[in-house]
């Protein structure tokens, strides 16, 4: 395992689910937890997080459809290296509906090779949060757990658990075979002629991505980077300097778009997907939607205290990210125009 961990560190492999946590650190934590475990190795789990529910992000779907070989290689590698008892795909239920035959066959084939794997269907956005995902697999209420302990220490059924996004496992497979080339998958969508999934260098700015994919709009525009709900909004000028983080999405909006409707789309999404565990997210997202629905002009002043508790006091990243699109849109686009 030490070899691979070093390779992951050198290649700078980071989590592509959105959090960008260095992969080698997760591996180290799992290794330490397995060493300390009184039960000994062979009891951990590897989970592939394929819950993908963020709007305007479908790169994991793309990988499942076109690069499943590599993904399964990454999964097998992780199981073998960590000595895990089982590999679990937490898979967006809609994806599974269309890919069942192929994925079931791959899992059956892996079993013949001695790898125990199964698919668990994920049905919500919060189900992609790694501890909520663990609760869901264990049959509990799908809501995030208090950390620590982290999943690498006490994850599924209390055992050390390595959780990676689809793309991260794909990257790990490339690193192992020596073909990783510092690229990532971008989901490009919105008011553009050629929406799609593109694999391009990680160093590109958002504008370069739009240029290389022939997607620069004719009219004035802005874009949300990193996620179609939780991503940050930048104006046209900023896009020339910003690289794309998070889940790797670029969503282009025309400047003339109705701000109230755009805000409502984001907030409705967060409200609908809130698990209901903590106060700011459970109550706050609902009140934000209400405020917008009840006012013809955007009631920024009334929204502000709710956005503040969401940002500063939410239990998990879902709640904390609600203000990101809203406030960056206000700061980078509305205030300037």
């Amino acid at each position: 395992m030490a070899d691979l961990i070093l390779k992951l560190q050198k290649a700078n492999i980071i989590g592509r689910g959105g959090a960008e946590y260095p992969a080698h650190k997760k591996w180290e934590a799992v290794r330490n937890a397995l060493n300390q475990s009184s039960k000994g190795p062979g009891l951990g789990y590897v989970i592939c997080n394929a819950s993908e529910h963020e709007p305007a992000v479908s790169k994991d779907h793309f990988i499942l459809e076109h690069h499943a070989d590599k993904l399964f290689e990454g999964m097998k590698l992780a199981i073998k290296e960590t000595g895990a008892r089982e590999g679990i795909f937490s898979l967006n239920a809609k994806y599974y509906a269309t890919m069942k035959t192929d994925l079931d066959a791959r899992i059956a084939a892996a079993k013949k090779d001695g790898f125990s794997m199964r698919i668990v269907e994920a049905t919500s956005y919060i189900g992609g949060e790694e501890t909520a995902l663990l609760n869901a697999i264990e049959g509990r209420r799908c809501e995030p757990r208090l950390k620590p302990p982290f999943p690498t220490q006490q994850g599924l059924h209390g055992a050390p658990t390595l959780i990676h996004n689809v793309e991260t496992l794909y990257d790990i497979a490339l690193v192992a075979e020596g073909t990783y080339d510092d690229k990532r998958f971008y989901t490009v969508s919105g008011a553009i002629p050629h929406p799609g999934i593109y694999r391009l260098p990680v160093t590109l700015t958002a504008l370069q991505i739009l240029e290389q994919t022939e997607n620069v709009p004719q009219q004035e525009f802005f874009a949300q980077l990193g996620g179609g709900a939780s991503g940050t909004v930048f104006d046209q000028q900023q896009l020339a300097h910003e690289t794309v983080h998070g889940a790797g999405s670029v969503v282009v909006h025309l400047l003339k778009e109705n701000p109230r409707e755009l805000l409502l789309a984001w907030l409705n999404f967060f409200h609908k997907e809130s698990c209901g565990k903590c106060t700011p997210c459970r109550e706050g997202t609902y009140q934000l939607v209400r405020l917008l629905e009840d006012h013809k002009r955007i009631p920024w002043k009334k929204m502000q205290p709710i956005l503040e508790v969401l940002e500063k006091t939410s239990f998990c990243a879902l709640g904390r990210s609600v203000p990101i699109p809203v406030l960056s849109y206000y700061r980078n686009v509305l205030k300037k125009s």
């Binding site: 698990c275 209901g276 106060t279 997202t285 609902y286 009140q287 503040e308 508790v309 239990f315």
Partner: protein, 584 residues
């Protein structure tokens, strides 16, 4: 349930600084616990010392000195030298906003506030300058859910803190669970036909916002007190007197018996009697039944299984729903407040020359299932319900505060003569108390003398399952004392293996017995319950009348009972049981 460890420190002593003040703490203890112990004031709605940390209400916010982030003090662990600020402007602003979200339209939705009664929650949010009117919360489109005639759940007030769910799971019933998502998240009820609520009300004693609560009898009691034609009798359960003071921040365990009697008279009750006197009647009936069983057994007769107590309606509901096969082993004695109410509506009414139909009996109980029990038709005699209304300790606190009666500072007064009680009746409040009282009297019945030492320590204490043996002459009586349903199952398995392993078993639904009951003041914590228990035993040890069979009021009652026809005697002293369906 998220298996987060309870708030336990490592044992290592450290010093933390709260608002600059040095405070002793255990390493790993939460800052919320340290702060509360040191008298600091931090709002918190999802933290309870006996239950897992959920960190969902986001009101117990603090700041770590030198850092900008606001963190929850229920998850911040003490470490050497940690410096924490408890009420910076940012903390105050953020926690107030979260409370505004939690209590969005609380004032309009709380029936207690609407009816003009004192509300603990209202006082609390007022203390933090939270309006309770700023936001209209999402409507989960659900009706108020009734748990029998004992408790109810109001979705409009629920803040999904999960405490009721966890305590229900802890005691071993698992009837509650959160349901719905997002802003519609509320408590739901186990749909499994093989699972039912036992009406113990532990959920109500752990709800921080009066969303799961007792079904109120306040209005009915107020109406009875206003009615000049009614003779309104009040009788309080043993457990009230060492816990009610908590409503005024008087330490748990403080005896306020005399002040309570004064308060009842101020409220306008016509007669102040006592459930303790009823407990003495129960002891007489139950000890007699026990003695008969023991004699039969000792004479070689067939006695299958132990005799179980039946004074806890939560336990009775448990048996009637989950284990109807046990019902023939439950003592047929009525429960204390029913026994005394029967006595007052028959014997006392005759003695005082009043029409029993004009009597209204109000029991003040630490319990919600006593409300349920008071509605049983099969307990009626002469077409009368023995007990008309039951108020919980919490309801009485609310009533007294609404009337501006400052209980702890009242002069003391005495119970009316027919309410005279013994220390044995008083200790019914604690787990093991019924057992101890019955043994005191059964011993006397079997040997003709009192036990050489009345205290029977092995059955005392907070543990959920206790065993003891008592020597009566050259015979040994084996007894078991159980609190909480989760401890019943192992005991029943043991009895199944050997039906004669125990002679007599006391079962209570609540942790620590009635004293930790579902109607008790909030917060209802194990530590508090232990102090209340100590208070009860202290009163007992200071009394001269300490056995039921020596109680002059009870003696007089039984003399009177002897003159009554058999059917009436039965109706006043005994009860029956029947299998119950879900929701019954």
């Amino acid at each position: 349930m998220n298996k987060i460890p309870l708030d336990t420190g490592s044992g290592k002593k450290v010093t933390v600084y709260l608002n600059g003040q040095a405070c002793d703490a255990q390493e790993g203890e939460t800052i919320l616990t340290v702060a509360l112990r040191n008298g600091f004031d931090i709002p918190h709605y999802c933290t309870h010392p006996d239950l897992p940390i959920d960190a969902n209400c986001r009101t117990c916010l603090v700041e770590i000195e030198g850092k900008e982030d606001t963190v929850t003090s229920c998850t911040l662990r003490a470490s050497e030298g940690l410096r924490v600020l408890l009420d910076t402007p940012q903390v105050v602003k953020l926690r107030r906003e979260n409370m505004e979200l939690l209590f969005g339209d609380y004032r309009a939705n709380s029936p207690r506030i609407r009816h003009g009664y004192w509300s603990r929650t209202l006082e609390e949010i007022g203390h933090y300058r939270v309006s309770g009117t700023r936001y209209k919360r999402d409507d989960p489109q659900r009706e108020i859910h009734k748990m029998g005639t004992a408790a109810e759940f109001d979705p409009a007030l629920c803040i999904a803190c999960n405490k009721c769910v966890e305590i229900c799971q802890y005691i071993g019933i698992c009837h509650l669970g959160l349901e719905g998502r997002g802003s519609k998240t509320r408590v739901g009820f186990n749909p499994d036909p093989a699972n039912d609520c036992i009406y113990c009300g532990q959920c109500t004693a752990h709800c921080p916002v009066e969303a799961i609560r007792e079904q109120s009898h306040l209005e009915e009691v107020a109406a009875a007190l206003r009615d000049p034609d009614k003779i309104v009798i009040v009788q309080s359960a043993p457990s009230i007197r060492t816990s009610i003071g908590e409503g005024w921040d008087v330490p748990a365990g403080t005896d306020l018996t005399g002040q309570l009697f004064t308060a009842y008279r101020m409220l306008g009750f016509d007669k102040v009697f006592d459930v303790n006197m009823g407990a003495d009647i129960t002891t007489m009936v139950e000890a007699q039944e026990l003695v008969e069983r023991l004699r039969k057994k000792w004479d070689g007769g067939l006695v299958s299984g132990p005799m179980f107590t039946s004074c806890c309606p939560g336990w009775v509901k448990f048996a009637e729903f989950y284990r109807p096969d046990l019902l023939s082993n439950l003592t047929r004695a009525r429960s204390p407040h029913i026994h005394s109410a029967c006595a007052y509506k028959s014997w006392w009414a005759e003695k005082a020359g009043v029409d029993p139909k004009k009597i209204v009996v109000v029991s003040i109980m630490p319990c919600t299932s006593k409300k349920y029990e008071s509605t049983f038709e099969h307990l009626m005699f002469d077409n009368m319900k023995p007990v008309d209304y039951v108020l919980t300790t919490r309801e009485l606190i609310s009533l007294l505060k609404t009337r501006d009666i400052d209980l702890p500072h009242l002069d003391t007064s005495e119970v009316d003569r027919e309410g005279t009680y013994s220390g044995a009746g008083l200790i019914y409040g604690a787990s093991g108390g019924v057992m101890e009282s019955a043994l005191r009297t059964a011993y006397f019945m079997l040997t003709g003398q009192n036990m050489p030492r009345l205290e029977f320590e092995p059955v005392r204490g907070f543990e959920g399952s206790k065993r003891a043996s008592v020597k009566i002459g050259d015979r040994t009586v084996n007894v078991g004392v159980v609190a909480m349903p989760k401890n019943i199952w192992p005991l029943l398995r043991e009895i199944k293996k050997d039906p004669n392993v125990l002679d007599y078993v006391e079962v209570m639904a609540c942790p620590g017995g009635c004293i930790g009951g579902g109607g008790q003041p909030i917060p209802n914590t194990f530590a508090t319950v232990k102090k209340r228990i100590a208070g009860l035993y202290k009163i007992d040890s200071s009394m001269t009348l300490r056995t039921a069979h020596e109680n002059p009021a009870v003696k007089e009652y039984f003399e009177w009972i002897k003159t009554q026809p058999e059917a009436k005697k039965n109706a006043l002293l005994y009860r029956t049981f029947s299998q119950k369906k879900k929701g019954e």
